[in-house]
Symmetry: C2
Subunit: 407 residues, 2 copies
């Protein structure tokens, strides 16, 4: 049996936690071959970025990759030392040494292929692999350049290594116990889910349940790899992400309530109501790599309309600047922003085949006197934009309405 | 013209110093091709070693190499960013990317060869090279393992790169202004030397003038590379290390006074005076990689003799343990140690052809009422072991006796 285990930054934040994680790996290594993927220790990546910013406002992507890759290289060496101290044969591998070949794009390289030769050789020699997550190298000789995989990179490394080595299990250890029906800090009755589908996980994560990066979930779905998400320091069952199981038809169609505080509404007033105008605005935002959500266009009055949409906190300033430029070009009116909003969603693959859930959601919010500003839906999710101060109440109301506290 | 410049840890200890060093590199790059070699920032290496010690008392050499190599990888990326910010085309290279191939020995690998292909390509493309010092990779594909070169590793990288690239100059920038006739903190009249020979530099450095690592000096001598040692933040002339110049015959045969506080005397009492016994003791120390200095054996009395020698502070505990074991095997008496000693030396290539310098040295010390415990000499150095409390006075007396304040 071969198991891939990934440990995030908070799980390897100091020497003590590294030793604690090593004990878990050591136990697993008694009954299986193990490939461990580690993130950089705690705040290392943030600290390195801050250091680069002290040098220059505009660091080159290639040099940032090289700088940031040191974080995982260091933690992989330290984890390997901790395994040795427990008498476990282990060897650390940089992304390059693990054969992770990426496209030649800095900061957010995608994995092109994995040459498993060295990993297999080390496994056959009886070693636990300790792979530096988040990084790879470009195709080529030993001169290959170091690349990083961008946000969620270590999760992506773990899933890709699991696929390449045909692992039996892929386990993502983090500082939460799994995926819940809602944030337990808001809803004390929230229940940890035993399983969740890839699609549901993507909707939950995208809406703010930051358990695992969506890119790695997508890769897991693509490769059909079951992923266990669990707590790195606690011996409790986590949540398995996998394809919908057969019990789907009889279970609660709603799996969880997701929420997102880090959203902002931008409104463009008096947009000329002509074909191609909306495309013009959203293409400009897409060019800046800004994801847009909950787009609402009012009914046209006297040839103009108001257009609203939401963007994440990180993208707000760039989005406003971009939209201002476009608004001028197309002869629209002023731009206004509202940061006092939040998103609440019900998520579940069952929703698509069960009509009436949207109505139940809106009624429940209305009964609680929570005003819905706008609505967006996917096949397996219904999201309402509401006033930020009402968010916690909305999550609790919906959790109760859809009886998620019941197994 | 091609210049190699090496900057030590204190010269790149923070963002401000990195930017300051980058300005010097930028100026040089206007009139020459430049290959920069950098150490890890400030105390980074010490901190990484401390972190490893928190994990295990006995970290594996391979993993330590991988851990420590991150220090220079990070500083090379940051230095490259600083150069970019000044509008200088530059590219960072890890030891492996610079083509520095070492033997497969961790922690203190020697450089086997340098494949200059990529360095040449980058220079031809108009880039300043920023090479991570202290590190290389083993022979092989991109799976090559990362090695470190041990103490003085970045100096060694600089000299080896200068040789491989056939550089016109090799400059070692550090936090001292050059090599002095004596430590200026002890002798205010001490003079900075314009030039010094490799042999003299080795004797000065070996005796405690920690300007540049002896291994790199030896490599410079072997390859006949002139090395400038100078201050990284001050625009003042340094000292050039090179083969003896023609003026040798008429200059002062004594070039400087070296001293070493970090020495300890170990005495083994009642050693059987038989052939092979001394070899037995010193082989055991050599096996532990302990350098021994100033060996004194008393005249034999009734078949036994006392044997004294000195070792560096770092080696004291291991040396005592080793010697105790051997003493038991050979039937010698007890071991005593004296940490209250220090070494003072006169150094100069002229000494070998000018008799009488030893006598002048001993007389000067005697006149100053400084007792000589024991003596050792090389062709270009005479060293006296004296009481530690008398060291500063001895350095001053000898500096005056040999008129080193005069140019």
């Amino acid at each position: 049996m071969l198991v891939v285990q990934k440990y995030g930054g908070s799980s390897v934040a100091d020497a003590e936690r590294i030793r604690s994680v090593a004990e878990r790996v050591a136990r697993t290594s008694k009954e299986a071959q193990v490939a461990v993927v580690v993130s950089a220790m705690g705040k290392t990546t943030d600290n390195l970025i801050a250091l680069a910013r002290q040098i220059t406002d505009n660091p080159s992507d290639r040099e940032m990759d090289k700088l940031l890759a040191t974080g995982e290289q260091a933690s992989s060496a330290l984890m390997t030392m901790a395994l040795h101290a427990l008498g476990v044969s282990a060897v650390s591998l940089t992304g390059g040494q693990a054969g992770i070949i990426t496209e030649n794009v800095a900061r957010k390289a995608r994995i092109a292929r994995i040459d498993v030769t060295r990993m297999k050789k080390e496994l056959e020699a009886g070693n636990v692999l300790v792979i530096a997550g988040f990084q790879g190298v470009t195709e080529g000789s030993s001169w290959a350049d170091i690349t990083t995989l961008g946000r969620g990179g270590s999760d992506t490394t773990a899933v890709a290594v699991a696929k390449a080595l045909k692992a039996d299990r892929c386990e993502i250890y983090t500082d939460v116990e799994g995926v819940y029906t809602a944030d337990p800090r808001i809803v004390p009755e929230a229940r940890k889910l035993d399983t969740i589908s890839y699609e549901e996980m993507l909707e939950m994560a995208g809406q703010g349940a930051k358990v695992m990066h969506s890119r790695a979930v997508e890769l897991g779905e693509l490769y059909d790899i079951e992923i266990l998400v669990a707590h790195s320091q606690k011996e409790v069952p986590g949540t398995v992400i996998k394809h919908e199981d057969e019990a789907m038809e009889i279970r609660n169609p709603v799996r969880g309530i997701a929420h997102d505080l880090k959203t902002n509404r931008i409104t463009i007033a008096s947009v000329p109501d002509q074909p191609g105008i909306a495309a013009c605005i959203f293409q400009a935002l897409a060019d800046k790599n800004i994801s847009v959500d909950i787009i609402v266009q009012n009914v046209s009055q006297s040839g103009v309309t108001d257009l609203s949409f939401t963007v994440a906190d990180d993208d707000l300033n760039t989005a406003v600047a971009t939209v201002q430029e476009v608004a001028q070009q197309i002869g629209a009116g002023g731009i206004s922003t509202d940061q006092n909003v939040a998103k609440v969603s019900i998520v579940g693959t069952g929703i698509r085949s069960h009509p009436g859930y949207a109505a139940r959601m809106f009624t429940a919010l209305a009964d609680a006197n929570i005003n819905i500003i706008s609505i967006t839906t996917s096949e397996i999710r219904i999201t309402c934009l509401i006033e930020r101060s009402k968010l916690e109440e909305a999550v609790r109301v919906l959790h109760k309405t859809f009886e998620l506290e019941k197994a």
